[in-house]
């Protein structure tokens, strides 16, 4: 089973470099799915998100979710990068890359990982509005919780 690459970091990441690293020198991969989650400006309302996280738990929990994906699908590689700290509209927050010999496994595993990260990775988003005020904590969505039932 491949060893997942997991990083929790403040700075930006290079989605292309991460996905290239997963495939470099290999000729057994048939499908790579890359998911990038970005900060939206919510119609111009949002100046930035401040992502709080639980440092000691974040990598461990993402690792558990990745291991579960590796158990369920025949993956040839998994990379997950999650940022914390201030993130501005247009910037990436999270990256999930899955590689497999066939497309169905790569797609399903990427969706599974995102669904689980949404509800299990210890990160919390606070909105900072363009008028300089605190927009409050983003509330967890019921639909994100419900998305887990399909797995």
């Amino acid at each position: 089973m491949p060893i997942p690459t997991i990083r929790v970091q403040r700075g930006t990441f290079d989605a292309a470099a991460e996905s290239a690293a997963l495939a470099a020198g290999r000729t057994d991969i048939g499908a790579i799915v890359t998911f990038t989650g970005l900060c939206r400006d919510e119609g111009g309302r949002l100046a930035r998100l401040d992502l709080e996280h639980y440092p000691d738990m974040a990598e461990a929990e993402i690792g558990r979710v990745a291991e579960e994906a590796l158990r369920r699908w025949p993956l040839l590689g998994v990379t997950i990068v999650h940022r914390y700290g201030p993130i501005r509209p247009g910037e990436a927050i999270v990256l999930v890359v899955t590689a497999s010999s066939h497309r169905v496994a790569a797609f399903e595993a990427a969706e599974f990982l995102m669904d689980y990260l949404k509800s299990n990775a210890p990160f919390w988003k606070k909105e900072r509005l363009v008028e300089g005020t605190d927009g409050g904590w983003v509330e967890a969505k019921r639909e994100d919780q419900e998305a887990l039932v399909r797995w």
């Binding site: 927050i93 990260l117 509800s119 210890p122 990160f123 919390w124 904590w137 509330e139």
Partner: protein, 83 residues
């Protein structure tokens, strides 16, 4: 043991972490929340809707009926909004 708080739980309690020594009859996460609420209005406020509070023991998610015996670090936080 160490207690750590995140997001609005942290804001309401007014601190990010503290050392705690709960009495012997505090056996589960639920007991721990009930005991914390006896410690002041800030805890009552943080845990007012205790069903929505998530907990972790030593960096792993647990349910409210999980025993806390042997725990080194207990975390309390709202539902996560990462990803």
């Amino acid at each position: 043991m160490k207690a750590v708080y995140f997001a609005w739980v942290r804001e309401r309690i007014g601190k990010a972490e503290e050392e705690l020594d709960p009495p012997a009859d505090v056996a589960t996460i639920s007991d721990m929340i009930a005991w914390l609420k006896t410690r002041g209005q800030e805890y009552v406020y943080a845990f007012e809707n205790s069903r929505s509070i998530r907990a972790a023991i030593d960096h792993a998610h647990v349910k409210h009926d999980a025993p806390i015996s042997g725990a080194r670090e207990i975390a309390f936080f709202p539902p996560m909004t990462g990803g």
